[in-house]
């Protein structure tokens, strides 16, 4: 059966196989002396980018008012229905949330609420590691969500651009013309 053509082929095969084995052993050996790429997480926390999608907050405008106008857009955009609220009218005529609730046990941190928000009120923060022993503790109320800063766009104030001009004369919004007095309009 074995003619002379077979012999070098077999030897060749054995040598190829052996060199393959040696190659893989050598590769792992060189890896042994490399510095591990692992980040030692609790000791070293990698600084996360500002737009990382983590825990959700409700921000305030520069003058300290709540930005949220309880428009339900975030609640409507939420794919897992984890945001719920009840809107009401405040004493100054502006709308606001009577209560605002996010169930973080459901939240998938997709950021669609943040995109839907017309007033930049609801924002996702880079904080991602918050664990609880009980699942009920993941239900955050408005007090837990409200922070006292403006988040990613601290200078933005929705009511300076649009909305009910409570306590201010009309035409005060940025980029808004003076109100036209239709009765005195003359050619």
């Amino acid at each position: 059966m074995e003619d002379k053509k077979d012999k070098p082929g077999l030897l060749r095969e054995v040598l190829d196989g052996a060199s393959g084995l040696v190659g893989s052993y050598a590769a792992t050996l060189t890896h042994l002396f490399r510095k591990p790429v692992t980040e030692q997480y609790p000791d070293y926390k990698r600084p996360m980018p500002a737009r990382t999608r983590g825990r959700i907050i409700l921000t305030r405008s520069p003058d300290g008012n709540e930005r949220c106008v309880a428009c339900y857009l975030c609640s409507g955009a939420c794919p897992v229905n984890c945001i719920s609220m009840q809107s009401e009218e405040g004493p100054d005529g502006r709308r606001r949330a009577a209560w605002f609730r996010i169930n973080f046990a459901r939240c998938i941190y997709c950021g669609l609420c943040e995109e839907a928000c017309p007033t930049l009120a609801i924002q996702l923060t880079p904080e991602f590691a918050f664990c609880k022993d009980a699942i009920e503790d993941f239900v955050y109320e408005k007090e837990d969500l409200l922070v006292d800063h403006g988040g990613k766009d601290a200078e933005y104030d929705f009511y300076a651009h649009a909305g009910v001009a409570a306590g201010r004369p009309k035409g005060e919004h940025i980029g808004e013309d003076e109100p036209v007095d239709v009765k005195s309009i003359l050619p």
């Binding site: 893989s24 052993y25 792992t28 510095k35 591990p36 030692q40």
Partner: protein, 330 residues
Amino acid sequence: MTDILLGILVMLVRMAVVLAVVFGLAAYMILVERKLLGRFQVRYGPNRVGLFGLLQPIADGLKMLLKEDIVPDGVDRRIFLVAPAIVAGAALFAFAVVPFGPTFTLFGRPVPQVITDTDVGLLLIFGLSSLAVYGVALGGWTSDNKYSLLGGVRGAAQMISYELALGLALVPVAMTAHSLNLTDIVNAQARLPFAIAQPVAFLIFIISSLAETNRIPFDLPEAENELQAGFHTEYSGMRFALFFVGEYVNMILLGSVTAIFFLGGWHGPFLPPILWFGLKVLAVPVFLIWTRASLPRLRYDQLMALGWKCLVPLGLANILVTGALLAAGL
């Protein structure tokens, strides 16, 4: 009468020492494997429990002990409960004939560093390694799970096949040493270890013992991506730990056996014999871990082809050549 009692006491102490050392080594071998494997893959491995993760095996052992021991419905209860003990027990029992060093004299009595110095040590180790098949096969069969059954059948077929190659690799060793006694085999290597004198037998032995211990690249009985965990899929808690410890005790046994048969046992320059033996014993598991990091798993038909079509004929030819050389007086 006091002589008999003293003899029994010495025997018990020797067994306790060997058992403690082997169990400790097995527990820390798990840590060494995880650490080394981590470094081979450019990561750290466990380093949280205690300094450098040194308490990790103890934490793992405690966890395993406290876990629920689940016996699934439909299993053959008695066999299911015994199977892990067969694996661990066969491996531990084999240490009875492993010599750890030359006989030394204590209080005017010769103290051999072996539990039983028998003339059939090689055969006994061989037989016990073949008994481990029962643990794998029965554990797989009784689990009442198709993956376990496949793992068990694979394990049985693989271990039967490679036992043959293993035996054939040990025949030239016994031939050159003129003995089956492990101490004699070690003493026959005082000048030249058999790894150099019998390179082909050494190669066959290493490959087939990798298959005997079900380690990568021959871990088909527990191939994770095909069979979940193979024969120990249904095991949990302490019984799973027993399978696990059995595997690592097997690694250490393999290290000792390789050291005795091929690496010259406790012979070596400069260092004391027991240290040499320990170094050689530990070198083999480290090599096994290195292999695990380096090689992919074989396909089942490749495994069988390698065993029957390559290693067995090679082993037979090696025996023939060795016999011819011995007959020629070389």
